[in-house]
């Protein structure tokens, strides 16, 4: 007998882990926690401007925004961070009108160096203010055309390593440079990422086992549960949700080596707001969703519901003297209990320590690892995005004609 072709069955946990260890040689994001941050901190210290405008889109802004949004009200930041990331003219105009351009540093971020949105907006900025090495810094690949532009104009460049994809670049200069400038502790960020790195690769606290199990479940049950809901109980995690959606959607929406379409659909919602919106669909709708609830253990905030009785509303006096941080945590617990009582919605809970650099970084690094693991189980290339090229070609043709 002779055989041609093979099926590719789901591989074992050990094989997946070995493949990730092998992949770590080529894929850059894994090792970003170990970089030298001195040049970034030195540049950050030298910045005099009060407004920091990041011009970028997608992977060039989402991770930075996630961390900034999570921390900005819990840190005394003396600079304002603004993102110019869309071609919507009303959006561009309203953001620019809100700042003094003479007191602004522009950080132009594009991995390829020729992102249409980024270059369009940067050109527009050039018509409003002289952009030179005193107010413009570039983050790009070392051989991009944007890098050439920077060299010609003597502008400082921070490099995005070739093997770090945009959506995995938050712990490169892409995220660290703007965050360091506004006053976020980037060493604490990397410490948080490293904590997860070590726990996964050096096998601590069952992190490796837990993530392997979770990835295997999500992929093996992908036909039953094609939607993954992240239900974050803090408005501060809104940026994280958006970042997760890009990471998950763009990494896992692929055609696999067996030529079948893969993909898990990410949804990010915010509690308690979306208890009044999306929760009904989770509870009574079709069983096509897994749910991951993210709770914040310590809000480091003692805002309280005062012991005031509103005449007519006495029945709500049981809320009196309750801290808002306790209330939101109880709301999360009630939602978790309601979902788990149903017994047919896969649900896990991640509790992050607090509103600090290391907590959000650990969470983000964990999601990067989880994405890589799911990609391996799916036999896809987690790190490319061939599906968006066709639209770019059509756009270019439209505009050039």
């Amino acid at each position: 007998m002779q055989y041609t072709h093979n099926f590719n069955p789901t591989i074992s946990d050990e094989d997946i882990f070995s493949e990730i260890v092998r992949e770590k040689e080529d894929i850059g994001y894994y090792n970003l926690p170990f970089q030298d941050t001195a040049p970034l901190k030195e540049y950050a210290k030298s910045v005099k401007q009060s407004n920091i405008v990041v011009i970028g889109i997608g992977g060039s802004t989402l991770g930075t925004y996630a961390i900034y949004k999570y921390l900005k009200h819990s840190r005394k930041l003396d600079k304002k961070l603004i993102f110019l990331e869309t071609t919507d003219p009303i959006d561009i105009q309203s953001k620019i009108q809100s700042i003094d351009l003479q007191d602004t540093l522009f950080i132009v971020i594009s991995k390829s160096g020729t992102t249409v949105e980024t270059v369009s907006i940067f050109k527009y900025i050039n018509s409003l203010v002289v952009c030179d090495k005193t107010n413009t810094v570039i983050v790009t690949e070392n051989d991009s055309k944007l890098n050439r532009y920077a060299q010609i104009n003597g502008m400082q460049v921070f490099e995005i390593p070739k093997n770090v994809g945009g959506r995995f670049s938050v712990f490169s200069a892409v995220g660290l440079l703007p965050l360091a400038i506004v006053g976020i502790d980037i060493d604490e960020l990397l410490k948080g990422a490293k904590k997860l790195h070590d726990a996964f690769f050096i096998k601590k606290d069952d992190v490796q086992e837990r993530l392997l199990k979770k990835a295997r479940f999500l992929v093996e049950y992908k036909n039953s549960f094609n939607i993954n809901v992240v239900f974050s109980y803090s408005s501060r995690l809104e940026g994280f949700n958006k970042w997760y959606i890009q990471l998950w959607g763009e990494s896992l929406g692929k055609i696999d080596i067996n030529n079948t379409r893969q993909g898990l659909t990410p949804i990010g919602i915010i509690g308690p707001i979306d208890q009044h919106s999306f929760l009904q669909l989770i509870i009574e709708g079709r069983r096509d969703k897994t749910v991951t609830v993210i709770k914040v253990e310590n809000f480091d905030n003692d805002l309280k519901i005062p012991a005031i009785t509103l005449e007519g509303l006495e029945e709500l006096d049981y809320l009196n003297d309750l801290e808002f941080s306790s209330l939101i945590k109880s709301q999360a617990d009630a939602t978790i209990e309601a979902i788990q009582n149903l017994n047919d919605i896969p649900c896990d809970v991640i509790t992050i320590d607090g509103v600090c650099e290391s907590a959000i970084a650990s969470l983000m690094y964990e999601y990067e690892l989880l994405t890589s693991l799911c990609g391996k189980f799916m036999y896809i290339n987690t790190y490319d995005q061939p599906g968006v090229e066709s639209g770019k070609i059509i756009l270019k043709k439209k505009l050039q004609s």
Copy 2:
């Protein structure tokens, strides 16, 4: 022979339409375009404060935010609108710190009158500033406990009709009161809603046929395409996307009369930002999504990419002299073409006229009609939300113990 039980097959377009016409007698939102706005406008004119704070959650804020976000940069509004809608203490604190509470009108909105989040926040506000009839107005049902509180304190009340559900209440006082106060033309809003009402019920411009066809398609193919993506090409539509997600998810995620779980999962994304995020999943991922692209025909904005050459980036000079509004429209068209070329992703396009009251109102009324139609095809009660009650009971027990 004898038979018991019947199957309930999908019903005809004519029957659905008759049922909607019958439902219009009981369900209040259909007729909101015909209300008298004089009392709302009169109250709005009397408001002296510069800051308008809406305290509410879910259906009490999402529609208002959708319209405000869409129009605020295109109208000269002299008052600022702020939403307090979550129990996240850091969110509450940072928003309150940004305004002068002595120069603020509080609009407390709760249909039931006993929404935990709303009453908690309002209690907290009471500890910061005296709330009385000079700075507080109530929007609620006529027999709620919040209404009693308002009567006791001599505060003005605007009523939410019993037969208007929270998520269908944007064209009641819930949305119209705050919008009128900040300077949005609420008569133009109702005109836009009425335009869709008339086109649907009086059969103009094929609106009835188109919506019936769309609803039938979405429901009949719900097992293949359980996810509905709204891809809005304007950052101004971010609020609309959130409102749509609540409307769709909470209305359609139900158990039907045959005791089977129904539900279509709404996703809202923003172009061109999410071309760099979610588009890859749409293009190469599993075929489990329908896509509705929303384009804005007229941005009424001539912001232009200047004819500047950046040395090194000459290849992007084809963008020179292009208006941003043309660029974003071309980006939408390129995405539509890329999706339609694939031939296996159901995709339709809605082009709204401009950044004006009537355009956004027509769009929202259309989505309300579409939701009602899908609910009819699914044999569910579109207007209740029994699935979220269990969590509320668990929360109350937790807090009272």
